[in-house]
Symmetry: C2
Subunit: 261 residues, 2 copies
């Protein structure tokens, strides 16, 4: 047996979890579920590092984590072992052995979150757990105007729930894209990192712009005054997905469709 | 007020229902939910006619039903009223007033069901309630060979759960299509009508062919001997969707994306 640093590509339905991070008062977290299984496997406490802490109720289609294990298992064996014991709403998509120093959070260059908004009066029955039902049409053009102020390197303190701001609240948003399909609007935000609740507050503010409750240039004022009160509401967790995490070198190759013989 | 024959285009997540049809021992049916709301609206018992009876646990993306009502409500008002009182897993997509003699089942020319199969070892966490997890790769080529025997007008008695076969068991399958996306295989069956459990037994038999448990030409024997025992297993309800019902003239126009201002 030798120490292996294993990177995990994960998807999970966050609906019934208290978020990613293991906490004192609950072990109902994604991290907690993974660590418990790895502890049983290795007989020792394991620290799983996630690329970021998704909030309670937030989903992931491409979360990345890593863990250092003394194990003889291959990448595929570890994936299958974890999937066998994980509940049906958490799935390991891929496992790859990575350099010893790799850390899923510290090495992350870029992350993309996508937020799904249902604009119909009643939500689609199949997507209802994964969308926020705003219940009316949004002015996507106005929302797009606000993007001009948000993209770039700014102090996003006004778009953060955390009141203690000792650490830097400067982040770079590389891109914000909108996509409309039938009555569903998705907002994808790509950046080098995000503050606590930042994506949900950004999306909530954009929704208020789309509803005509505030102007597109009001986001500039939020950036300038750095005051959370000046920003919009925090969009509910259910519509948010961590879609992808990008590193200097690609860790997970695009899977070949190998299951069809 | 005047009598209006209203056609409803519906989607529902069948997971927690005892199927479409109202039954003596349960009112936990889609039909039952609709009739209860319409009874409250009109003060009289209402008979909702569905295009077909989906089984317990089967979903619909395009079920069609009709009901004759004494009402002043417009099409849009009736849709909104029903959606307000229906649970979140049943949704009225559109309402159209149709000719007095229109009957959603008797006038149906063609129906399409789609069955979703997840071939990965562990199901996708987001689609898991709407797919059957076969857990391994299927030989889609072999499944496609069987299609040649099934498409056309045949006696499908061997693909029917109902033991009393007084009525004709001859049906016409117009098309069977396969689509592979990542590890998900969908099977779409279009026909002029289907016997009790017919699509699920057809799909179960195709899955056994895809697993190599039976040969593609074995379906010819099932058609010839008319014996349910000769066919494959009945695929679980959770993977099945009633996708569309086609009539001589189109009832529901394709919706214009009007919610984006």
């Amino acid at each position: 047996m030798r120490k292996k640093n294993m990177a995990l590509l994960l998807e999970y339905d966050g609906s019934r979890y208290d978020g990613w991070q293991r906490q004192g008062n609950t072990d109902n977290t994604i991290e907690g579920k993974l660590e418990k299984i790895l502890e049983r496997l290795t007989g020792a406490c394991q620290q799983v590092h996630g690329s970021g802490r998704t909030d309670a109720g937030v989903h992931a289609a491409g979360q990345v984590a890593n863990v250092c294990l003394d194990t003889d298992m291959s990448e595929g064996e570890l994936r299958d072992y974890l999937n066998r014991y994980l509940p049906e709403d958490i799935k390991v998509l891929q496992v790859r052995e990575v350099p010893e120093r790799f850390h899923s959070r510290l090495w992350a260059k870029e992350k993309t979150y996508t937020y799904y908004i249902d604009m119909d009066e009643k939500s689609s029955v199949f997507a209802r757990k994964y969308t926020y039902a705003v219940g009316k049409g949004l002015d996507v053009g106005a929302m797009e105007q606000a993007v001009g102020y948000l993209v770039g390197t700014h102090d996003f303190a006004g778009f953060c729930s955390n009141k203690k701001k000792k650490k830097s609240t400067v982040r770079t948003i590389k891109d914000i894209r909108f996509q409309v399909s039938k009555n569903c609007l998705s907002v994808s935000v790509t950046g080098d990192g995000f503050l606590y609740n930042m994506v949900r507050i950004l999306v909530g503010t954009l929704i208020e712009i789309g509803l005509g409750k505030r102007t597109p240039d009001s986001v500039k004022e939020v950036l300038d005054c750095r005051d959370r009160q000046a920003a919009g509401f925090m969009a509910p967790a259910r519509g948010l997905f961590l879609v992808s995490v990008v590193y200097e070198t690609e860790i997970f190759p695009v899977e070949v469709e190998e299951t069809v013989r």
